[in-house]
């Protein structure tokens, strides 16, 4: 019984320290510089991989420019991050600012964990045209701004150059359409290579399905996220196509978690639709020659799934205007810097994306060609948890062939609608 007791104990501790006033905001002072007394900012993020040192370097560069501001950066795995952060803020131990995925913003806004940043972006003069429009819009919730986007990390088409050459394909011209892509896979199959491994897991199967759903003209939900719409004809077509890759022998069955990516590094497959975060991983894999391009257009329009890291500012029990001002300056400085792109990301801010420093990064620049076609999930609290509890399972069922595509999607949408209704009641939206 020890684990249950632990759960109860945690629950009791957490519950003892709730009580946020909803939709808090704060004053960030005026101006875009910091000249106040020395302050120390606590800054949390989930960069436990190769991206951690890169962010730390940016923070240190910021400290050099702003002698009065020290930054303590704390990193924990994203999986634990979203459980820890609201608990820390609710108990008055939260950081000053944090990076979070844009799809987590509505939940954290409802929980009173993060502050509305309308004043902050007005002070800094930030507008939609300074960013990529879809990512800027994704950081707002119910008409208020909560996140300042730092980057975008869409999925793209990675190709193993050596494997393509072995099969007589030109790695300089990666497939752009459905016909070209299927022809390349057929060619590879003829050489005994299963070119595109389809996994039943969210990484990367879920990302692929969502991209395809949008390509076929579908949507995950209605704009207000009251109803799941992924069981539309577009959704069925998208998932049928993924399944057909297995049926036609372009992918093995029962691919394990991350096995598609490891196989890509080993030269066992040729293509992988993977996220921007893989740039660092593949770049540091010895002997691996690879190239990157926008996703091929399988459906009727171009589209790719993306997520984004957003700067957010935490609610404090006793707000300190100096720290809020310093946080504002840090957000402005780091989102402006193209250096973050070296961690494999596309800067959200236009000035950074159009800088010569970013253009020099070949892989990132290829991914950035997709920026006008990037899609983000609707802003609704708890939506990503609902998706995980329903759609992710349906994708696995369909990819594994244990359910028909139509049945798996319909069943998951029905359950998602009920969970979305419960969430609407809970968050009173």
């Amino acid at each position: 019984m020890s684990r249950q007791q632990f759960l109860f104990a945690c629950a009791a501790l957490l519950a003892g320290c709730g009580g946020a006033s909803r939709r808090p905001t704060a004053s960030f002072g005026t101006g875009t510089g910091y000249d106040g007394p020395p302050v120390t900012l606590d800054f949390w993020n989930g960069f436990t991989g190769g991206d951690g040192p890169q962010m730390l370097a940016l923070v240190e560069a910021f400290e050099k420019q702003h002698r009065n501001v020290r930054v303590r950066m704390v990193t924990s795995r994203w999986e634990d991050f979203y459980t820890k952060l609201p608990a820390a803020v609710a108990s008055g131990q939260g950081p000053d600012l944090a990076l979070m995925h844009v799809d987590q913003i509505p939940t954290n806004a409802e929980h009173g964990t993060i502050l509305a940043l309308d004043d902050l972006v007005r002070d800094l003069g930030l507008r939609e045209q300074d960013f990529a429009a879809p990512v800027w819009r994704a950081g707002a919730y119910q008409g208020r701004r909560y996140g300042v986007p730092l980057d975008m990390h869409p999925i793209g088409l990675y190709a193993n150059t050596q494997v393509l050459e072995k099969a007589g394909l030109d790695p300089k011209r990666l497939p752009e359409t459905r016909d070209e892509y299927e022809a390349a896979l057929e060619e590879l199959k003829g050489k005994g290579i299963q070119g595109h491994w389809v996994t039943p897991f969210f990484f990367t199967g879920g990302h692929q399905f969502m991209s395809l759903l949008w390509q076929f003209g579908g949507e995950l939900t209605d704009p207000a996220a009251t109803r799941a719409t992924w069981n539309s004809d577009a959704g069925v077509e998208a998932l049928e196509w993924l399944r057909s890759l297995i049926k036609r022998g372009y992918s093995p069955r029962n691919v394990g978690q991350d096995a598609d990516s490891i196989a890509f590094k080993n030269g066992q497959n040729a293509f992988i639709w993977n996220g921007a975060w893989a740039i660092g991983d593949y770049g540091s894999t010895e002997g691996l020659k690879w190239t990157l391009a926008p996703l091929p257009r399988i459906g009727s329009e171009k589209a790719a799934w993306s997520n984004s890291h957003n700067f957010t500012v935490m609610r404090q029990s006793s707000p300190d205007e100096n720290r809020l001002r310093a946080a504002k300056v840090l957000i402005d400085t780091i989102t402006k810097s193209p250096a973050w792109a070296e961690a494999g990301q596309i800067p959200a801010r236009r000035s950074a994306r159009e800088s010569p420093a970013f253009r020099k990064l070949e892989a990132q620049s290829r991914l950035a060609e997709q920026v006008p076609d990037l899609r983000f999930a609707a802003a609704a609290p708890g939506l990503s948890d609902v998706r995980e509890a329903t759609l992710d399972i349906a994708i696995a069922q369909a990819v594994n062939g244990s359910q028909t595509v139509r049945h798996a999607l319909d069943d998951s949408a029905r359950r998602a609608n009920e969970l979305l209704r419960l969430n609407r009641e809970k968050y009173a939206t």
């Binding site: 019984m1 020890s2 684990r3 249950q4 007791q5 759960l7 109860f8 104990a9 945690c10 629950a11 009791a12 957490l14 519950a15 709730g18 009580g19 946020a20 006033s21 909803r22 979203y82 459980t83 609201p86 608990a87 609710a90 939940t107 409802e110 929980h111 009173g112 964990t113 491994w197 039943p200 897991f201 093995p252 069955r253 029962n254 691919v255 394990g256 978690q257 096995a259 490891i262 196989a263 080993n266 066992q268 708890g382 948890d385 509890a389 399972i393 696995a396 069922q397 594994n400 244990s402 359950r415 009920e418 969970l419 419960l422 009641e425 809970k426 968050y427 009173a428």
Partner: protein
Amino acid sequence: MGTGALEQLKVRPPAAKRIAVRGVERGMRSWTPWLFLAPYLVLFTLFVAIPVLYGLWMSLHNWDQFLDEKPWAGLSNYTELFRPGSAKAGPFWSAMRATGIFTVLSVPLLVILPLGVAMLLNERFRGRSFFRAMYFAPYVLGVVVVSMVFRFLLDPNIGALNHLLGSTTPWTTALPWAWISLVGMTVWWTMGFNAVIYLAGLQDIDSQLYEAAKVDGANVWQRFCNVTLPALRPVIVFVVTVTILASANVFGQSYLMTQGAPEKKTRTAIMFIAEEGFQDFNLGSAAAMSYVLALFLMALSAGVFFFFRRGEDRR
């Protein structure tokens, strides 16, 4: 739970009663036992009794720990679990089923195999200490280490096992293989613990009993059935109870090795409850699920206890 079994393990000194009586004669005050109990009682109240009652209170609300409003929900968190087709009932019972399957498959192996190992390790042979250490060794590893190692050993496409066998068996991504992997890994990992408990029990058996049995002409099997098993009875009750509870609380193995694959069919009850409470912030409904699971475990433990006690009466 399990304390009943533990109690049986303890050897009561014959003098215990006499000392107690003398204590009263010396004028033991009525609060003296409470004083002795106090250190544990404080911890028990703080970390068991209060959370259990608080959890019950939570389970009657729509309880999001980060929202001010925690509206009264009556018994709906419970009734939703028993309403066929509800969004909570499906995954919850599927998770309970997963826990049940794991328990049914792993407990017999974890009760029987370690007994055999303990009997072998109780023999005299060269390198006995080495083997005793080896069988226990996996148990000192953390669940994370074990699960990650097995995840990559057993990966269907890139794993070492399939490479050696030249097969494409989906050890971690399809049924029934995922269960075989989870149970096999758990047996390898925790068998040493039960074996050590059995070994301690075996070493306590008076060798004269075996000699007497031999003189009476009992063969190996008869000595096992009529000397070893009855003498080990309290140890077996303990091992069975503890193993059932440990198996029913399975979390780390499927969380790390299969991640619930395929299609969340190996997602266990504890795993689902943790997701519901700490990822989806529905502590009320997670608490209700915990109580349903706890009731199952209590019934199961009581069943085990009565099963063994009935046997005792017959003897």
